[in-house]
């Protein structure tokens, strides 16, 4: 009976600041439109898209999927650690996440360098117009995500977050997971599906 007077631990609000979730929804909407535009653009150029997709480095795309998902897992472990007042451990998990995210930029940068040196640009064809703009839009989000994670890392080291003050780290973590979520759709769509 005593439980009835206790506040419910099952809150209806998502973790972090409500504003970040509104922002995340807006970002997902933009990426969703982009994905649909790619898929319907392909419907009019199936042969071209299938031929050009074969020129992508699928291995690099898969490695980057592993890096982003692992970064997301590290960030989730960081939030979990800070929630138990283990800030030192939380900071280490954040750093591991930052390193994985940095690895994504290196691999993607090498992919871009290879395409650019082959003379590929936005006007090469419809496929590469979509590939370059879609992946670069995502690339910019990875950079912003890494800036946020780095800020969280500094603040966690300073002890700015703890079990009673999770809002900042939960908000930044949610943004990073959104970047991961988008890539989870982007990789099969652009690199594998034909």
């Amino acid at each position: 009976m005593a439980e009835l007077t206790l506040p419910s631990h099952r809150s209806t609000a998502p973790p972090g600041d409500l504003a970040i979730w509104v922002f995340i929804l807006a970002e997902l909407l933009a990426f969703g439109v982009f994905f649909a535009a790619y898929a319907f653009g392909r419907a009019h150029n199936v042969a071209l898209f299938n031929e050009m997709q074969a020129t992508l480095d699928r291995q690099a795309g898969a490695i980057n999927t592993v890096l982003l998902i692992t970064a997301s897992a590290c960030v989730a472990r960081a939030v979990e650690a800070v929630g138990r007042a283990r800030q030192v451990s939380g900071a280490r998990w954040l750093l591991a996440g930052i390193l994985c995210g940095g690895g994504f930029l290196v691999v993607k940068g090498a992919e871009y360098a290879e395409k650019f040196s082959a003379g590929i640009n936005l006007s090469t064809n419809t496929f590469y117009m979509f590939y370059l703009s879609l992946t670069f839009f995502h690339f910019m989000h990875v950079i912003l995500g890494l800036v946020i994670l780095t800020a969280l890392w500094f603040k966690t080291r300073q002890g700015a977050y703890g079990p009673a003050d999770m809002n900042g780290i939960e908000s930044g973590a949610a943004y990073w997971h959104m970047v991961d979520l988008v890539w989870i759709v982007l990789f099969p769509l652009v690199y594998v599906m034909r």
Binding site: A39, A173, F187, M193
Partner: protein, 86 residues
């Protein structure tokens, strides 16, 4: 959020990524391959939303918005691949 759950989710995400990669390696194409890839990305995305983003414990509305996004994007991709001439 418990650590074992997070680790299990990471392992599932890695296995699903391996399966996606294998579809590409085998050169599977067509409607069945498309459906398989969409199911794999939905399974992965749903776990990221529920366990990494922590929406498993949030209200139904927020969960529905994010998972609804995954479903909507998957449906649009499936339609675009359905109508594409083989």
């Amino acid at each position: 959020m418990d650590i074992r759950r997070l680790n299990t989710v990471w392992v599932i995400l890695m296995l699903a990524t391996g399966a996606t990669w294998e579809v590409g390696e085998q050169g599977f194409a067509g409607q069945l391959a498309m459906a398989l890839l969409l199911v794999l990305s939905f399974v992965k995305g749903r776990l990221v939303v529920l366990d990494f983003m922590g929406l498993r414990r949030a209200g139904l509305m927020w969960r529905s918005l994010l998972i609804g996004w995954l479903l909507l994007v998957s449906a649009l991709i499936a339609i675009a691949y359905r109508i594409a001439p083989a």
